[in-house]
Symmetry: C2
């Protein structure tokens, strides 16, 4: 909020930091070059000396958040624990910066894999390689993990956002109510799972999902690697 009075020169890093602050406060729609230049106490044109346009700015902001989230302690933990740590790191990062979810999704939809999403893919894949998965499943396995992590974390963040500061339990109850009032012939599944939505822990359910995908990995790799079943 404190509109700095250009104490030091404009840098790409300061611009990206300011962009993250604006995105956190006002979501993607709030990030305009006018708002951003005001926060930096300069004119809109100045930003273009350090960043080629809005697209690159969004990518850079996403990259900064993801890089921080992927920075693990580094002590050689078991690969399965590292996958958990990476997944939860991204979960929390997206929880803090909900706009990152849509940004990563758009980045993935735009191209095969670039920038931040490429880094995530590599970080997850490196652990998958050591989990006893047959080599020909490495890629599919890792992308499945990536999609689950981004999808579930994004949905969690969206649910928190829409609460508007409400009690989390109240939001879950409202959602559960909505699902239970759907027509029974058309939505048997959503009605069936509505109850279990009413009380669950978000992070716990997220980790359970990661384990489910890892179970698929273990099952498809069982023929080769034998058991880490226990």
């Amino acid at each position: 909020m404190a509109t700095r009075k250009r104490t030091d020169a404009l840098t790409r890093a300061r611009i990206v930091d300011a962009a993250i602050a604006v995105l956190d406060a006002d979501e993607e729609a709030g990030l305009t070059f006018r708002a951003l230049s005001q926060a930096l106490a300069t004119g809109p044109g100045a930003i273009y000396h350090h960043v080629s346009g809005k697209g690159e700015l969004l990518d850079a902001a996403t990259e900064a958040v993801v890089t921080a989230a992927l920075d693990l302690p580094g002590g050689g933990a078991a690969p399965r624990e590292e996958v958990h740590a990476l997944a939860l790191g991204l979960f929390d990062a997206i929880d803090d910066h909900p706009w990152v979810a849509a940004q990563l999704a758009a980045q993935l939809a735009r191209t095969s894999a670039h920038g931040a999403s490429l880094r995530i893919l590599e970080a997850l894949g490196r652990r998958v390689m050591t989990l006893g998965v047959p080599r020909e499943h490495w890629f599919t396995t890792t992308t499945a993990l990536l999609y689950y992590v981004l999808g579930a974390a994004g949905q969690n963040a969206a649910a928190r956002e829409s609460s508007g500061g409400d009690d989390r339990a109240a939001v879950l109850a409202r959602e559960a109510d909505a699902w239970e009032s759907l027509p029974a012939e058309d939505f048997p599944f959503l009605r069936a799972v509505a109850a279990q939505m009413r009380d669950h822990d978000d992070r716990e359910q997220f980790t359970a999902g990661v384990d489910l995908v890892l179970a698929g990995i273990a099952a498809s790799g069982a023929r080769v690697s034998g058991g880490s079943a226990r």
Copy 2:
């Protein structure tokens, strides 16, 4: 392309059809109310009599595409085959209308589940219920499947788009080359999977990924349901 000369009255359905045509031709950035009204031989304001704004229009266009894709033959096939059919139906729909992937992702990121994404969740979940998965895993299992299907189908569509009409094999080779030229210490995983990217069938790999998630489902359900292992 044929700018009709308002033979019949403007309807919501005609507007949505025209929007889909524009999106298919010019991607999301090409859908403006000016372009759309020109295609419909009217003024921009006319559209607002049938649709509340651009957001609703995008949702309606997505809904139309997804509804068509989810419309299965209906003969009671095995649930596993039906999941395959649903997944491939979405895969092909997103292949034909690449903008749908980003739209569904945004829809999921915006809210817990609405409109088109809610329908997909229900369609997949109904089959998951009959696959012997323990009840407490229904929701996580189905969302994992949903995220994989949307993520993988979207990425496939993006890869096709970026080819610009090039030979598919050439695109894969170029991507494989790019991955292989990444620094070895930083990207051991992507370098390891680059080779298998060079020649693979897109739909085949997609189905293999669906099976991987289904394997996770089978593994976590094994304790309860016994084997459809074969």
